[in-house]
């Protein structure tokens, strides 16, 4: 177990800068998730912590020690790769005990540690198989087993669930989470799936194009995003964002419709962006007129795509809704939080 501290880290591939001074502090035993769209630099950052990628500038410290120039083998951290990277010529047991073999651990201890890890992950009957004889989910668990037999300072995961089907993904999500609660080791976990991030993290780091957009707990990011990108990235379906202007103390949409939400303290005529989460909209009650385009009942909730002054607007209702495509409805912004963003910088206006 250890803290990880990333300070002003810059990464260049030749002339291309993919990381522009990223700073993140990770406490001992914390489960930190790095999220962001594809290509934002999540894997690169993780690989710099692992020591598989050189750090152009800045420092990475593990347990208070700067590790910039330490090779991976001396960092005492383990990594689960997106494609598992199991050694194909070794059995499951040999795969799991390989790090111990390299470290010169005695046979007896090796056996008992592999057995313990196999027990946790339910791999007992598979120990003598080769990776090619395993299913995707089993390979994924062997890859995790290879990490936990080592009892490292930090676990790194790079999208470990992205090759699994939806059902297995949910199951493994819970398994990793409970594993963390049991072992209480520091975890840095990369995903581009915001649901995975929300459900697993103690702390989420949202990255975009090599920059940190916001760091915070899952609900903190959901309730209090600092800009439009985070607001729309966290939460599913994504937050609706509409352009509007302040007129006579009211929020007016480009078509002239007036929103039933109090505007921020801005001068008359100021333009801004209004954000509303799909689950915070109510039907009826003197709201904005809209036309229903698509209704998607999922059983537990109803997802409605509406046309609001010529823009798509998504709402989610907990109840069964008696609306059908083509119906005219009125959407109320009065309940729940409404967010405002600057039109140009897209930063939150509070």
């Amino acid at each position: 177990m250890a803290t990880v501290s990333i300070r002003e880290v810059v990464k260049k591939f030749g002339d291309l800068t993919v990381m522009h001074g990223v700073s993140i502090d990770i406490a001992d035993g914390e489960f930190v998730v790095l999220v962001g769209p594809s290509g934002c630099g999540k894997s690169t950052l993780l690989r710099m912590i692992a020591g598989l990628e050189k750090i152009t500038a800045g420092t990475v410290s593990i347990g208070g020690r700067v590790v910039n120039n330490l090779p991976p083998k001396d960092r005492d951290i383990s990594m689960v790769f997106q494609n598992y990277a199991l050694y194909p010529h070794m059995t499951v047991a040999e795969n799991m005990s390989f790090s111990l073999t390299i470290a010169g651990t005695p046979e007896g201890e090796k056996k008992s540690r592999v057995a313990a890890a196999a027990e946790i992950l339910g791999l007992g009957p598979l120990l003598d198989r080769f990776p090619r004889q395993l299913s995707g989910g089993q390979r994924q668990r062997v890859a995790m087993g290879r990490s936990i037999v080592r009892d490292p300072q930090v676990f790194l995961f790079d999208e470990p669930l992205s090759n699994l089907d939806a059902k297995l993904r949910v199951a493994m999500r819970a398994e990793i989470k409970s594993l963390h609660q049991r072992l209480n080791t520091t975890v840095v976990y990369v995903t581009h799936d915001q649901v995975e991030a929300m459900t697993m993290a103690d702390k989420i780091v949202v990255l975009r194009s090599g920059r940190v957009e916001q760091i915070g707990g899952p609900l903190e990011l959901y309730d209090d995003p600092c800009n439009r990108f985070v607001a729309q990235f966290i939460g599913s379906p994504a937050m609706n964002v509409l352009p509007a202007s302040c007129r006579d103390g009211k929020l007016v949409l480009p078509g002239g419709a007036v929103l039933d939400a109090a505007p921020p303290a801005l001068p008359d005529g100021a333009e801004l962006l209004v954000g509303k989460r799909p689950e915070h909209v109510r039907l009826g009650g003197g709201g904005v007129p809209a036309r229903v385009k698509v209704v998607e009942p999922t059983g537990s909730e109803t997802c409605v795509l509406a046309d609001l002054s010529g823009r798509d607007f998504v709402c989610v209702f907990r109840d069964r809704m008696p609306v059908r495509a083509g119906d005219a409805v009125s959407l109320s912004f009065a309940g729940g939080a409404t967010y405002f963003f600057d039109k140009d910088t897209e930063l939150r206006i509070r």
Partner: protein
């Protein structure tokens, strides 16, 4: 018997006949050599009697009776050390080409390959001069050096392909598991490129075994190899076809045995299951 069965039978017969014809085309020269090697000197040069003349082992007796034994020892030793040196040096260089980024990497890879463009004939005189300078003429070491130099470009290119086919994550996983670069090469890369290495080794052995130009020019008595023995059979009284053929048959056997022996390492798909779900 159903129609499909009948069709299937015809197809499999046709395939069998085709394979037999192709095999015959490829084996024909070897068969001729075998036949010639088993005839007396007079019968060997009469094509119309080649299938009917009485069999004799005289040619083999004469061939083995000469210096052929020591030629075989030289050939085996040179092939063995050439293959070892080419594989070790070539594979390590190939690893560098496959896994490290450096300036003008592709240019250098091509430059190495371009060494293969040079015909042996073009360099044998300079080699001769250099060898005499170092007092290496007519030694096996000299042949090993020359053959290794000529084999390495090819080894590098073959092995580079095999190494690049391995997912880099496997090596990274080994680094994370505490391996140094050399440990990774020995425990992860080597076992997984073994099939490719075996194929490369077979080529090296055959190249070295069959080499004629260097062996003929750079050796005289002590380091002569099997291919140079054909020169012995060009005598004033004519070509001794029978003995030459017998030597040829004997020369094929060790390579054949070697290829069969290493075949089991040439399994494909060893890396299956390493990555992806």
């Amino acid at each position: 018997m159903s129609r499909e069965d009948g069709c299937g039978k015809i197809v499999s017969w046709a395939r069998g006949i085709l394979i037999a014809l192709i095999s015959l085309a490829f084996l024909f020269p070897f068969l001729c050599m075998l036949l010639v090697s088993l005839r007396s000197r007079v019968d060997a040069i009469q094509p119309e009697r080649i299938f009917t003349a009485p069999l004799t082992l005289d040619n083999y007796r004469l061939a083995i009776g000469g210096d052929l034994g020591s030629y075989f020892v030289n050939s085996v030793a040179v092939a063995l050390f050439t293959t070892l040196a080419s594989l070790i040096l070539g594979s390590l260089a190939a690893y560098g080409f496959a896994r490290y980024q450096w300036e003008k990497r592709e240019d250098r890879a091509f430059w190495i390959l371009s060494q293969k463009f040079l015909p042996a004939m073009a360099v044998v005189i300079p080699y001769f001069l250099m060898a005499s300078l170092f007092n290496l003429l007519d030694t096996r070491v000299l042949l090993v050096i020359c053959y290794t130099a000529f084999n390495i470009p090819f080894t590098i290119w073959m092995m580079r392909g095999f190494i690049e086919d391995l997912p880099a994550e496997l090596e990274e996983a080994a680094f994370m598991d505490g391996c140094t670069r050399l440990q990774t090469i020995r425990r992860i890369v080597l076992p997984l490129v073994l099939p490719g290495m075996t194929a490369t080794a077979i080529f090296c052995v055959i190249n070295s075994w069959n080499e004629f130009v260097f062996a003929n020019f750079l050796t005289s008595i002590h380091a002569k190899t099997v291919p140079t023995s054909v020169m012995m059979y060009l005598s004033i009284s004519g070509v001794k076809w029978g003995e030459m053929a017998a030597t040829g048959v004997l020369a094929v056997l060790p390579v054949f045995a070697f290829a069969i022996g290493v075949q089991k390492y040439m399994i494909r798909g060893l890396t299956f299951g390493a990555v992806k779900g």
